[in-house]
Structures are given as structure tokens and as C-alpha cells.
Amino acid sequence: MSFLEINDLKVHFPIRGGFFNTIQEYVYAVDGVTFFIEEGKTYGLIGESGSGKTTIGKAIVGLEEPTGGEILYHDKPLGSRRARKKVGYNKEVQMIFQDVLSSLDPKKRIRDIIAEPIRNHEKLTDEEELEKILTLLNIVGMPPDALYRYPHEFSGGQRQRIGVARAVALNPKLIVADEPVSALDLSVQAQILNFLKKIQKDFNLSYLFISHDLGVVKHMCDYIYIMHRGRFVETGTRDDIYNNPQHIYTKRLIAAIPEINAENREEIYKNRIKVEQEYREKESIFYDKNGKVFDLVQISGTHYVAIKSKEDLKNVENNIA
């Protein structure tokens, strides 16, 4: 059962200018995306920088006011701040950030950082609160003496754990993870990913995993959304996206990932050049005249592709074959 539904979400940023600082134009950061989130699942949101993936994340946690569309939480619309508060939404949806250091107040001790959401939403005595923080630190594998230290005293991986501890403090249902591992080294990245998976099982969490690293997303996510120019170009299960990509943009992304195999370098290179060329030639089939992505069309049970009509897809396939 899905508990969060996003219907035709739009976030447009005005560009102001001119003599009276009037609105000249809009940036269509997110331009009509629809998806839903079920319990205990991980959703991946992939796209290059500027494709609007972070904006979706921010709109979901309420850091960005949507221009259009609606977000339904247990079938109740979340329009205003008050509506969010009424259904306890702020408690249920948390976020972890890419640059953890800037998301942790440098003047606060770890105890206060983790206590902040608890103090906002729950009424606990000091002892109860301390006990809760200690359990949280234990869950994320940090020693109790971390309580009275400051964020700068920790390494990147440890800071990310503190961010996670703060996010899970209120037993949320959904965590929006915005590039949680892209600033970390390989071995630390592996630690954090394993650990995110572990707490997912323990708490029955859902993740919305925002990343540009297709390897990480492949490892983590059940269902994947590929974004380009503020819209979804292809959505499907991991299997659909990686083994049967249909949209030319998805193909291009996958072809650009450097494979960890030095053997058939030439082949990979040639394939990439081929896909790149195809991307340029076939642009008109996958994007309309203004470069806008078409609406999604269902091509199998779970697999959707943004294309004008299904026939076009067949034509493309024939051409390639």
C-alpha cells in the first residue's frame, strides 16, 4: 500500500529581472511528475545535475513550496504547513543530506543535534531523552562518548551516521536521502550503504534515494525513476532499467558509466560513441519541439517510458536492429 502519493508535482522558479524586477521567465525545475511511495521500499531518483531531482526531494519534505500538483499523505492532501502538522507529516518524513557537515550545526554538541527533532515533536524528560539518544547512537554504531563532542571532530563517514541518527530519531516512515554517499570514499560508502539497508529492515523504512551514481542506485533501489529536464523519462524496476532500457537518455546514461573491467575497453568506447550519436539523431522521437519530455507510456507491467506513442518505440527498435 502506498502511503505517499505525488500527483503532477510542479516546482517552477521565477527568474526576475528588468526595471521593476518583474518575473521574466520561469525555470521549470520540476514539471509534472507523478509517483507514489510504498512502505519498506527503496526508490531511486537519477538524473544529471540540474535535472530537478533534489527539488523533488525538497518539495516532499516541505522545504520547497510546489507551484502545482499535490502531495497526498494517506490520501490527505498536504497543502499548507498546518495541514502537514495536523497529520504528523513532519515527523514521518525526514531527510539526510549530501554535505553533512553543513547540515549539522557546528556550535551544537552531538547530543543536542540528535535531540532537536525529539524536542520538537515529543515530550520526554531529560533522562528519557538521553536514553533515547544513546540507543540511537548505538544503532548507528557510534560510541557513547560522542555525545558531548562537536561535528568537526568526526570523519565524513561518522558525520553521515550522525545525520542518519537524527533522521531516524522519530521513527519516520520515509527518509529522503539526497546523495548520501557521494562525498565519501569507497570503503566508507560501503559501510553507510550496508547500514542504511540494515536500518531499513529494522524500522520498515522507505527511502527515496537521490543520486547520480547509477551503481549505488542499482545496489539500493527496488524501483527507479530517471529524470531529465524536470520530468521522468523512464521509470521501472531495477531489472527494467538496467537490462531493458528504452529511452535514449537512459541508454546514454548507462553507456557513460565507466565499467570496472579493463578488458574490452575499445568495445565499450565504440558503444558509447554509437549511443551518443543515436541520442543526437533520435532526439525528435523522444522530446517534443521545445525539448520537453513526453508523457509516460506504459510498455509493461512496471515499465514506463516517456514517448509520443508506442509505435515510435517499435520504429526505433527496428532502425537499430
Partner: protein, 333 residues
């Protein structure tokens, strides 16, 4: 690949000062770079890979660092060159590409001027020739409208364009050596692929030797001729790229390759290297530096003073612990 050596580094030590004590961040690294070769140095942050690069072109503050050992370029040891002497070769014979192009470019000058700057220092071209060369360089790095870009400021360009400009500056005097320090880390995969293709293409044109510093093993697998894996200030494994990826030997290399999320089995946990990289001050200076991270390997497997052994042709591995190495969850022998 040409066999002509253009750079040779012998027993390089670069030490940083903490309260009147020096600690080696690069601890006895030796390698050579050949013409038209791409040598990749991989390792995690803090292992000393960028320190090597900065030592080669003398970018360290002499008050806080001590560089010893030999860096032989053109038959001369440049390790302890003065600032003036470095200015002669920096930019002219050794080009440098940084990770963050926005920080490498001056925000107050137009792109054209910044490219011409190194031409003023290092060539005797007159104003018109410089301008022409500048446009030619921009064209060479795949910028569609060189004339327009030359008149823009760095903030007006996208990340990929900026990195192209930085590459154009690095190439301006046709250097013999290009040092690329994480050139694509800040870029999207599609742009990364373009920039890497561009680098390979240009390398073939000017026959330069490239030192590519990165932590991305995928990039290394696609680009490098030879790979050096670095851990805690030392090279732990050096081999041809194909050899290294098909037959990794050192425990660190193997652990790194294991920890990359790429398997189709999602239920599988990623491999985690135990413990942490020791800080510079607490680095064990004796014995195998990786020993603390693989505690299940008995001490007798490690060498007392680990050195690089040539285990097969051109494949060097430090220490002897790789011979009977197994991951903790595998049954050992």
C-alpha cells in the same frame, strides 16, 4: 606506447610539519612516466596521491613541507627547485588540471585572457598570434563557439565547459607531462565520459605523458595504461591496467574492488574494510601498513619491512601478505 622516460621519481618523501615535527605523507614512492603513457594513481582520500602531484610541480608551501628524494625531469632533479625555476617549467612543460575548475579559474577575468596568460609567460608569440592560438585551443577542446566563450566569464559556463577551459590552459604550451588531479569527480557521468575521451584524444595528438589521480576505479579501468594503488603514503600495487583488474593481488586492491556496488545480487552486503585509515601522526612506520585492517591475517604472513616485489612481469606488490590472503568470511587455508 613510446618507451622514452620523461619523468622519473626516486624515493620521494613529502613530509608535512606539525609542531616542529615532520610526518611523511608520501613515504618513499618511486615510479617513472613514459611518453604517451597514462599512469593512474588510485587511493582513498588522505592516502597522499594529490601530495605526489603537488610535489612534482612544487605547489607546497616550503615553510610547512619538506620534499626529499629525486624528481628527475629532463635529466635534472627538480625536487628542490626554487619558485623561479618552477615557474619556468610549470604550465610550459608540465600542465595541471584540477578537480574544481571554478576554483582554478579567476572569476574576474574573461576566459580568453586566462588562456592567453600562460602564452604570455612561456612563448614569444605576439598579441595576434596569441589570440589565434587561444581560439584554436578552445576549438581543440571541443567548445562550439570559441569566439563567444573567450569573451565570457567562468561563472557563465557549465561545469563541463569550465573543465574544458582548464584543459585548454593545461595544453596551451604543448606540455610533455599533464597531471590531472581528479579531473572529472565534480562532473556528471555523461560529461565525464566526454572529458575523458577528450583527454585521450589530445594525448594522442601531443604525445604527452599523463598522471591521472582519481579514486574512481571505473575511470581507471577505462583510461589507464598503468595503475598504481596507493595506501597510507605508499604504493601497494603497481601493474598494467588489464593485469590489475583481472588479477588484483594486494589485499587492499582486492578489498577496494569488492566494496564497489556493482553486483546484480542486491541482497548481498557490500564488503567493508575494517577499521579506518590511520591519521598521519599515528601511521605505523614499521611493518605492513594494511595489517591493522585485515586482523584475521596472522602476523607471520606480513613482511617485517614490506617492499614492492615483482611477482610477474611489470606487476609489483608490496609485502608478502597477499600470498595467503583471503577475506574474513572465506575459509582460510
Amino acid at each position: 606506447m613510446g618507451n622514452e622516460k620523461i619523468l622519473e621519481i626516486k624515493d620521494l618523501h613529502t613530509a608535512f610539519r606539525f609542531q616542529d615535527e615532520y610526518f611523511d605523507a608520501v613515504d618513499g614512492v618511486s615510479f617513472s612516466l613514459h611518453k604517451n603513457e597514462l599512469l593512474a594513481i588510485v587511493g582513498e582520500s588522505g592516502c597522499g596521491k594529490s601530495t605526489i602531484a603537488n610535489s612534482i610541480v612544487g605547489l607546497h608551501d616550503k615553510n610547512f613541507t619538506r620534499v626529499s628524494g629525486e624528481i628527475i625531469y629532463n635529466g635534472k632533479n627538480i625536487a628542490n627547485y626554487s619558485e623561479e625555476q618552477f615557474n619556468e617549467i610549470r604550465g610550459k612543460e608540465i600542465g595541471f588540471i584540477f578537480q574544481d575548475p571554478l576554483a582554478a579559474l579567476n572569476p574576474l577575468h574573461k576566459i580568453g585572457k586566462q588562456i592567453e596568460e600562460s602564452l604570455i609567460y612561456h612563448t614569444d608569440l605576439d598579441k595576434e598570434q596569441r589570440h589565434e592560438r587561444m581560439l584554436q585551443l578552445l576549438d581543440q577542446v571541443g567548445i562550439v563557439n570559441p569566439k563567444r566563450t573567450a569573451n565570457q566569464f567562468p561563472h557563465q559556463l557549465s561545469g563541463g565547459m569550465r573543465q574544458r577551459v582548464v584543459i585548454a590552459i593545461a595544453l596551451s604550451c604543448k606540455p610533455n607531462i599533464i597531471i590531472a588531479d581528479e579531473p572529472t569527480t565534480a562532473l556528471d557521468v555523461t560529461i565525464q565520459a566526454q572529458i575523458l575521451d577528450l583527454l585521450t584524444e589530445l594525448q594522442n595528438e601531443i604525445n604527452a605523458g599523463i598522471i591521472l589521480i582519481t579514486h574512481d576505479l571505473g575511470v581507471v579501468a577505462q583510461m589507464a595504461n598503468r595503475v598504481a594503488v596507493m595506501y597510507a603514503g605508499e604504493f601497494v600495487e603497481v601493474a598494467q591496467a588489464k593485469e590489475l583488474f583481472s588479477n588484483p593481488l594486494h589485499p587492499y586492491t582486492r578489498s577496494l574492488l569488492q566494496s564497489i556496488p556493482q553486483s546484480d545480487l542486491v541482497e548481498e552486503e557490500l564488503h567493508v574494510i575494517q577499521g579506518m585509515v590511520p591519521s598521519l601522526k599515528n601511521l605505523p612506520r614499521k611493518g605492513c601498513r594494511f595489517a591493522a585492517r585485515v586482523p584475521w591475517i596472522s602476523e607471520s604472513e606480513h613482511e617485517e619491512n614490506p617492499v614492492l616485489h615483482e611477482v610477474s612481469k611489470d606487476h609489483f606488490v608490496r609485502c608478502t601478505c597477499w600470498e595467503n590472503f583471503h577475506f574474513e568470511n572465506e575459509g582460510g587455508c
